[in-house]
Every structure is written in C-alpha cells, then in structure tokens.
Amino acid sequence: MNTRDAYKINPKVAWANEAKGTCALIFSDDQQRIQLEGLEAILWRSIWQDLASENWAQAFAEVGKDIDKVLKDWYLKGWITKGDR
C-alpha cells in the first residue's frame, strides 16, 4: 500500500469538488459528509485523474504527513480501490 501503486476512487463514493479546492465526500448509508482539504483533496483528485500519487509524497512529507498512511486509511475505509497503471 504505497504511492507507487495505482488507485481508483470507489465508484460507490459520491463526491464533488468544491470552491477553494476542497472535496466533499458523501456517504449515502448514513448521509455522512466528509470534507477533504489541502493536500488530501489534491491527492483525491490525483487518484480521480489516474495520476501517480508519488508526485505528492514530498509535499506531504514537508508538512509532516505520511502519504502512504493516508492512502492506507482511505483504502481500508473503502474509499479507494487498487487499480491498474
């Protein structure tokens, strides 16, 4: 589970880009709404566009965040799935 892997957004997740670069994820089962901001929103859009996540590894590291941990978290929550590149 790392940035070299390819991911896809789980088609079951409803989401939208918002103004100011945030992403809103809406879960139909409990109508929960989660907002991704900053680098996490960028990483989400990067997966949406089938682009390599590793381009953002350094930016995450610079602000003390672990991109692999974020990807693993999303994967375990079922927001993203493994894809092909």
Binding site: N17, K20, G21, G38, L39, I42, R45, S46, W48, Q49, L51, A52, N55, A59
Partner: protein
Amino acid sequence: MLTNIFLVPVKEKVLLHAPLHGITALINRSGAKLLQSAIVNNDRNDLPRHYRALCSAFEVDIEPPKPRQGGLGEPRFLGLLPTRDCNMQCLYCDFPLSRDESVMTMSQSISQTAIDAYFKKLLELGHKKAAIHFFGGEPFIEKQLVFFAAEYGRDQAQKLGLSLHLEASSNGLVSESFATWISETFDCIVLSLDGRENIQNFQRPAKQTHNAFKRIYKTAQILSDSPCQLILRSCITRESLPEMHNTVAWMIKQFIPETICLEPMSESKLSIKNGLHPPDPWKFSRSFIKVNAFLEELGINCMLSTADLSLKTISSCPVGHDALIISPAGEINACYLPNESWEAKHKDMHLGFLKAGKFEISQSDLDRVRSYELGQKPLCQNCFCRFHCAGGCHVNHPTDGKTGAYDDICINTRLVSIGKLLLRLNQKNTLEDWLQDRPALEKSALIHNDRIEAWL
C-alpha cells in the same frame, strides 16, 4: 508635441478618436477642420460652443504610456510551457517546433521552483494577485505536469494569502474526466475551435484521434457548463470566411462563451502547402464587424486581438509587461514563441534563468525586452490604432517599414477598430453605409496619417 488626437474619414463624416483621453465622436468635415485649427493653433475663439466643450477636454495633457523602467516589476503573469509538442496537426500551424525543445517536457521541479519564485516575488513587491498561464504546444498533453502545477499553485497561493487566476490556451482534445478537472480548477480557458465538424476536422485534424471534433465539442460543453470563463478562438481562413457568421451563430447556440475571438489566419509554409489562404482583409473586416454587432446585442465580446479598444498600451502582448514565461527547459523568456522565431526576426526575448529557486534576470536583458515597444515602430507612428494594437506581435508583424504603409494585418485592425468605435457610438446606419462602400473603406484604411495635425 503631437496631440494623439486622430481623425479618420468615414464616408462624408469623420471619426474623431483620442484614445488616451477616452474620447470618440463622429463629426462632420467642417467640424473636423474647425477642431484641427483650434487645436493646432491653440485658438478656440471661432469655435461653436459645443466644439469648445470638446476642445476643453483636450486641454488636459495625457502622457502616453511609457516602457517600464528599473528592476523587475510586478510580472503580468507567470507563463508555463509544459511542452512544445501537440496532439493535433492543424493545416495552418505556424508554430515551429523548437530544435531543442521538440520532445522536451517541463519537469515538476522546474514548475514548482518557478511558482515558488513567482509568489515570493509578488509578496516582496506587496502584490496579492497572482496569475499563471499555460501555453504550448498543447499544454494539457502533459497532464501530470499541468495537474501538479495548477494544484500546487492553488494550494500555495491559499497558504500565502494570494488570489490566483489560472488560465490556459488549449485545443481541447482531452478526456472528459480531465476536461471536468480543468473546468473545476481553471478560471479561464482559451479554446481553439474553428467551427462545426466539417470546418474543425478539416482545418484542425488530430494526430491520432479520428473525428477529434467530438471530443473537443464535449470539452467545450463541459467548460461552458462550468464557472470557468470560456473564450472560443476561431482561426479564419479564406476558405472558412463565408461560414464565419454561421459558425458564430452555431457557437452561441451550443455554448456560453464569454468571448469569441476571430483571428485571420497568418500564412505559413504549412498553410501554403495545404492550400489554405489568409482571408481577404476587406471581406474579413466586413464580416467581422457584422458578427461583432450581432454578438454585442447578446452581450458576448467579439475579439480581434489587434483591435482591443480596452487597451491603452505600447505592447499589446506580454512582452514589456515583465511577464515571465518559463520554457520546458527552465529558461525565462518574455514571449511564448520558440527562440527560432525571434532569432529569425533578429529579436531576443530571453530574460534569464531559474537559478537556486530564484529568477536570475539581468537589467540589460530586461531593458532590451522592454525596448520592443510601440515607440520603435515607424509603421505605426501616425495610426489611430497605435495605443490599442501597439503594432501587434513584436516578432511576426513587421513594423519597421515606411510610416503608414499598412499591410493586411493593419487593414484588418483599422477597419475593425473603426467598426467597433461606430458601434460604440451607436452609429449603425453610418456603419452600414460605410461597410457597403469599398472605396470609402479603402479611404479609411489606407490614409497614411490619422493625426489631427495632418488632416486636410
């Protein structure tokens, strides 16, 4: 000292245009003579009362714009050239692939360094508004790079408290998903679309995609339905000119563009080889003005780049406004054309390099680029369009010839500018009469000296 007040004959009438004063009027010939005498001789005693009021507006001396001086000022924008390559092969393309850059792609690190240095410079200068423009080739074929630069730029701008305008010039041949990202990320896209399927696919075929029109149409729809400002740019050839009005009518039926830009094709080796020709300037201008009137009623801008009456400038392009355009290799230039294009015209648009996270630009390079301005263009000295068009492209439009020896670019510019000014004055009948009178058009377009001092 010359007044920068101009008089242009429009049939029996005279168009008075003082761009720096912001005054335009349609007057008669005896009025023109009276005004000339009053202004040149500084004697207003014999003037009728209503002309005296007009004349008093000219008493305010307005200095013409001057080239920038000193060190690097606020850059008009940061330009990024992700690649010179393109996924289309337009039959008239006059954009030569640079020797060194034909296969080169800008690295992520160059784009990041350029954005960081640009934002730093803006903050040093106390400015809060940033703008990044993407050019090509076709910038969006470097999807990864453009995605990185745009998202990184937005994120950093937000952190630094800067507002950021993102703009790109594109052919629109991208996937639906990427077009959606563009529409949600960019503020403005200049989309090249020559017309309906038959014109577009004929003049602008893609390298590998059959019927690229379908995808480009979809991109235009996505942009049109988004908050992103859509500017449609159509290249008009002699062959497509008869369809220009229909093309524009189709565009506004299909999309919601903020501006439709109609540019006459420039002849190139490729266009000659492919049997495409520039439109006749008299026919082009007539058609343009009619389309302009039609679009104006609908609140849509109709643009010819050399006839932008909102400009009061000595350089109508980024050159001279300290815009910093970064080549795929990281060179800083003032112009987005490849080096070979400037060198062929004995111009040097090179400004410097990105070095150690900073813009390395020497004063002499900055001064040289700033010297490519209207004051150095003999052709334009006495033209009423001089502060709008500023001689057009510093590289591709020759302006060192005899003053007033206007070429086809000038004829287009002059006629379209007159048409736009008459529309602004709501002189539709005069405009209609003038457009139908070829000798009158020639008289308006070809007169060598428009200055009030030269009026006969």
